[in-house]
């Protein structure tokens, strides 16, 4: 017997120690201990003698107390362990039939099962019971364990406590069975439950959290055990049944609770005491569930943490059974993942099987029907309980193929229609009608365009193609086998041959099922959270094979929308695709109203919009260019501002209206008016540009809208299709007006009704049309001339204001309305003042003019009318009123060489028909019919008629190579010439202002000999002849 053996050892130790008394290292303390041992040994012997294990226990325990007091916890623990083992042996022996009558006291029925009590160092209450021999087996065990526990905690070995606790609890249950002690059913469960929780509490009390988490492999057994016991208690007390506990169950519960006794004073204040927990758990179905779930989850979580997944699943299984039990009685209670794990798994498996094309059609139908039935049943059964949904992975249900945006840019403005067409392939063998298929959208308030790069996955045509899901990544897990041959080194014979798998580490790896467990559970929460932003399609029937679903995407707010999850709802079953990949995005933008003005070109007036109509109607178009409404515009225009009230238009609709714009083609100066739009101010600035013959009229229109801070500047460019030139032609005294209308546009026009009217309606004036045709066609870039003769009676008019007008229309549009084109011009100094004639005669004695010989040029200037205009300057010389004229011989073709001065100044007396003749010598340079050189006449204006300054002018004229000799004929000239010669002597004088020569108006000088030709013969002796052969 170990006890005696131990005592023998103690005895020996004591003896040796006593003998060492004289040595220096001997301590009283040690001796005391040994003494105690000695004393105890006697006690023990006595105890053995009386063969009462109880007393023996108590005695040995006293030894342990002594050890404890001496801080020898290890030794104290040993004492208790020995006691424990001893007791166990007794029980076993008793069970084997070796009756020890003292054990009888332990065989009495158990009446109290109030669990372990580990809070006190020594449970004196129980100790007394043991001493009195009234303790039950549970009491004794509890007491021993509480002592051991205390010691172990002193020894900083809390984890041993848990292991021992589990052993103790199992042991007790076994012993009670062995001893055939009558225990009320459930009582042991209570005891075990309370005890395990108490142990756990005690451990928690002496360790911090991190320690606990690191060592949950030690505590998890207790947790599981407690869970099991609570479960069996629940079964026992009718807490897991159809109708809740009946009266019998209630009686049972009351009995069990009575056995617990009153709560111990130590724990009465702690709200989480095991005692309170048990009481609460047994009080009602709900509380039981709560506690049971709590414990189960705790246990599962711990198993998972320490990697014991099988154990975790075993707990999960019983949890699931619990829910299945509930489900059987249609008590579908709030979501419980344990149960859902099971149901989900089943449904998921069914879905997988149903989609498996390797199976027969019949089987697939069966499994598909299984899902459908479940969905229907639970949908009917649970009614309003919406939160209880079964989430399955969508991958086994359908496969996404493609998503197409319409419009394809995936960029729309606020509240515009955007459609998404989702193409998916249903893997189910039968048509499935989904209540709803929805895609949750993540909304970010980003600026449009900033995500353009991110949408790279989207093809330019607005489609997103989903990669075909590789089933279980088969490619990655193909077996890679290779041969292995080993030859023995001695004789090169084959010693072994085999096949090795290279990627075994990949294939043999355990698939972590926790991830797959979690995903379907977390998905619905995410999918359901933001119901405001969802794509929805209701009552969709998915046929086997390819389907197409069209969603209308929300676009109420500007920003970027990303599709996150896809969820197909079928009753209470949801098929969820937790992530849509590649990323699918679309954008919604918002912008200020925009206004654009487009001139209607192609209209026959060729970029000459003409006039408005006072009431226009506006057409309101939706963004997709559908005509929604038509309403009237009101236009009010004043001198400066034209305001147009626009009808009410919904956002992102286009308001389109036609305004005819009037642009006055400038008659003389460029002067224009224009009107333009909207109920804002229009400020007008116009500018005319002459460019490549075409008159461009630029007009700026600014449009101010009350809803926008910006004003839109619109530039309108008008092209005037015609340019007009007029000229006054003279024939002696007769006057003709020629109007040349040039078409500068690229369109051909018809012209009619060319009229020329005199604006002031002077009765004495008459305009006589010499045009024969009233209709004419003016081709592009061509001219049309028309001529009128101007006749007058009486005094010749000083100036004539004329207006030319013609009606025109494009030639290729015969029915187009004729538009009027007007041209104002004024003719000044219409009447002919002078007539100039030039005559060339051969030199005296010659018959003909010959090249190289001098000829006489006689220029005669004749005043035709009594000049009364103020525009001529007169000078009084020698009592005669005269005006000075500067003449000039100009020979542009270099046919003539003027000998001497080619220009000069003459004084013209103010009298009708006064003639002045000038003679000059010219020499023809070529033979043939030569044009007479033209004579130009200018008004000569010396700077004021002051005699002092006159010489200056003359000296100036000298530079112009005036020939003074030619002027010797007339008296007036002679007198002038004297002055001039005088002036020439003073050429050193500083020069004053230049004299002016002023051209006459176009009709004032009539050249009577213009275009006249003179025959010039070649010179008689020609020893030199030039022959030009070309």
């Amino acid at each position: 017997m170990s006890f005696t053996r131990n005592l023998g050892r103690f005895e020996d130790d004591m003896r040796t120690l006593r003998e060492k008394r004289t040595e220096p290292g001997w301590s009283f303390c040690d001796y005391f201990m040994v003494q105690v041992c000695d004393w105890l040994r006697e006690l023990s012997i006595r105890a053995v003698g009386c063969s009462s294990a109880v007393h023996l226990c108590v005695d040995q325990e006293e030894l342990a107390f002594v050890f404890e007091m001496l801080q020898q916890f290890e030794d104290a623990l040993v004492q208790y362990d020995e006691l424990d083992a001893l007791f166990t042996q007794y029980v076993l022996n008793f069970g084997a039939g070796d009756g020890a009558n003292w054990l009888g006291s332990f065989c009495q029925p158990v009446r109290s099962w109030n669990g372990l009590l580990l809070r006190r160092p020594i449970d004196m209450e129980k100790r007394d019971l043991i001493q009195r021999g009234e303790a039950s087996l549970l009491d004794l065990r509890s007491y021993l364990f509480s002592r051991q526990c205390t010691l172990l905690i002193f020894l900083q070995r809390p984890w041993e406590v848990t292991a021992r606790a589990l052993e103790l609890l199992h042991n007790c249950v076994q012993e009670l069975q062995l001893l055939e002690v009558s225990v009320e059913s459930g009582a042991l469960d209570c005891w075990v439950f309370l005890s395990s929780l108490e142990v756990l509490h005690r451990i928690e009390g002496c360790c911090d959290r991190s320690q606990l988490e690191a060592n949950c492999s030690h505590t998890v057994g207790l947790w599981t055990y407690a869970t099991e016991k609570l479960r069996s208690l629940g079964d026992l007390c009718g807490l897991v049944s159809e109708n809740g506990p009946d009266s019998e169950d209630l009686n049972k519960t009351v009995d069990l609770l009575a056995g617990l006794g009153a709560e111990r004073p130590e724990t009465i204040n702690s709200p989480q005491s095991p005692y309170k927990k048990l009481k609460e758990a047994l009080s009602s179905v709900e509380a039981f569930e709560k506690h049971y779930l709590e414990l189960s989850h705790a246990a599962m979580e711990m198993y998972r943490v320490i990697g014991r997944l099988r154990s975790a699943r075993l707990v999960g299984k019983s949890l699931a059974e619990f829910y299945m039990w509930l489900l059987c009685f249609a008590c579908f209670l709030s979501c419980a993942c344990g149960f859902f794990d099971r149901v989900c798994r089943y449904l998921q498996t069914s879905a997988l099987l149903a989609s498996d094309t390797n199976l027969s059609d019949e089987e697939r139908r069966h499994f598909c029907q299984e899902i459908l039935t479940f969905a229907r049943q639970t949908a009917e059964g649970k009614g309003q309980q919406k939160d209880a949904r079964v989430a399955l992975s969508m991958s086994s249900f359908t496969r996404l193929q493609e998503l197409r945006f319409r419009p394809s840019s995936a960029l729309v403005h606020v509240s515009a229609a955007l459609q998404l067409e989702l193409r998916l392939c249903s893997l189910m063998p039968v048509p499935v009608t989904l209540e709803q298929i929805s895609a949750s959208i993540h909304f970010t308030q980003e600026q449009p365009g900033s995500t353009a790069q991110k949408r790279a996955a989207q093809n330019p045509d607005g489609t997103v193609t989903f990669p075909a899901a590789s089933p279980a990544s088969a490619s990655a897990s193909a077996l890679e086998l290779c041969e292995i041959l080993e030859h023995s080194p001695s004789d090169n014979a084959l010693s072994s041959a085999g096949v090795a798998c290279r990627n075994m580490h990949l294939l043999m790896r355990r698939h972590d099922s926790t991830a797959s467990l979690d995903t379907p559970n977390t998905a619905p929460a995410v999918a359901m959270e933001d119901a405001a932003q969802m794509l929805r399609a209701s009552d969709v029937t998915l046929l086997p094979g390819n389907n197409s679903i069209v969603f209308t995407a929300p676009s109420q707010k500007p920003g970027s929308y990303t599709l996150r999850q896809l969820c197909a709802t079928l009753g209470c079953v949801q098929f969820i695709l937790p992530h849509i990949y590649p990323v699918v995005q679309y954008e919604v933008y918002s912008q200020e109203p925009q206004l654009s003005i487009q001139p209607l070109t192609g209209h026959n007036t060729d970029s000459m919009p003409v006039l408005h109509s006072s009431t226009c109607s506006a057409r309101i178009l939706s963004s997709s260019a559908e005509l929604l409404a038509e309403s009237a515009l009101s236009i009010q225009s004043s001198e400066k501002v034209t305001s147009i009230s626009l009808p009410v238009t919904p956002p992102y609709h286009t308001l389109e209206f036609l305004l005819e714009v009037l642009c006055h083609i400038p008659s003389c100066p460029a002067r224009m008016e224009s009107e333009r739009l909207t109920n804002g101010q229009i400020s007008r600035r116009s500018r005319t540009r002459f460019n490549s013959g075409m008159t461009l009229i630029d007009q700026k229109v600014s449009v101010d809208c009350p809803w926008s801070i910006y004003s839109t500047l619109v530039s309108l460019t008008f092209h005037v299709p015609f340019t007009i030139k007029h000229s006054l032609l003279s024939a002696g005294r007769r006057k003709f007006i020629q109007v040349c209308l040039r078409n500068v546009s690229d369109t051909n026009f018809r012209l009619t009704n060319q009229t020329l009217t005199e604006n002031q309606h002077t009765p004495s004036l008459e305009l006589c049309s010499l045009n024969t045709r009233t209709h004419s066609l003016v081709f592009r870039q061509q001219c049309v001339f028309s001529v009128w003769e101007l006749r007058w009676s009486g005094v010749s008019p000083v100036s004539v204001h004329c207006e030319f007008s013609a009606a025109f229309a494009p030639a290729d549009a015969p029915d187009a309305a004729l538009k009027l084109y007007r041209y104002d011009f004024t003719l000044e100094r219409v009447s002919t003042l002078y007539s100039v004639r030039a005559e060339i005669r051969p030199a005296v004695g010659e018959q003909q003019c010959c090249t190289g010989s001098l000829c006489r040029l006689e220029v005669s200037l004749t005043r035709l009318s009594e000049a009364s205009d103020s525009d001529e300057e007169y000078s009084e010389t020698d009592g005669l009123r005269s005006s000075r004229l500067l003449y000039e011989v100009i020979d542009n073709s270099s046919n003539w060489a003027v000998c001497g001065k080619s220009s000069g100044v003459v004084s013209m007396p103010v009298a009708a028909m006064a003639t002045h003749k000038v003679h000059m010598e010219v020499m023809p340079l070529f033979a043939g019919h030569l044009l007479v050189p033209s004579i130009r006449v200018f008004k000569y204006q010396p700077r004021l008629a002051s005699p002092v300054i006159q010489p200056d002018t003359d000296s100036c004229l000298e530079n112009d190579s005036l020939s003074l000799e030619d002027q010797a004929e007339t008296a007036s000239l002679r007198s002038r010439g004297s002055v001039q010669s005088l002036g020439s002597g003073e050429s050193a004088q500083p020069r004053g202002p230049m004299p002016k020569r002023q051209a006459f108006g176009p009709g004032q000088v009539f050249s009577g000999t213009q275009g006249q030709q003179v025959l010039v013969l070649p010179a008689a002796d020609h020893h030199l002849m030039e022959v030009n052969v070309t």
Partner: protein, 121 residues
């Protein structure tokens, strides 16, 4: 070793015990790889049963479940049982007509197992 009543429960128990077996192997593999101790000892106790484990060198696992009330079987007995079982299993594996992975259909093996059962009960 136990009668077939509650077969599923035993399956669960054995299945769950694999957790502990793995735990122990990984622990042993590091520290005591060369010690050739195949017997893993008591895996875990439940209220009714004690579960013992044994792992061969080729990682074949044996699990023996003993009724807790059976106190006659100590550690040593269990260990010898495992050895016997292992030997017998090795014999089965050495049979050239046996394909690894097939259910064992060997009279010799069966008789050894049943004698162990009888001996235990």
């Amino acid at each position: 070793i136990v009668p077939t009543q509650g077969e599923l429960k035993f399956h669960y128990t054995v299945h769950t015990s694999l957790d502990v077996v793995e735990e122990k192997i990984s622990g042993v593999g590091k520290a005591l790889a060369d010690q050739r101790e195949l017997y893993l000892g008591l895996l875990y106790p439940t209220e009714d049963y004690k579960v013992y484990g044994y792992v061969t060198n080729s990682k074949v696992k044996f699990v023996i479940v003993v009724d807790s009330s059976n106190t006659s079987l100590r550690d040593n007995e269990i260990r010898s049982m495992f050895r016997k079982l292992h030997n017998s299993f090795t014999d089965v594996m050495c049979n050239p007509f046996y394909n690894p992975g097939d259910p064992i259909q060997s009279k010799a093996f069966d008789s050894i197992v049943s004698t162990m059962m009888v001996q235990a009960c």
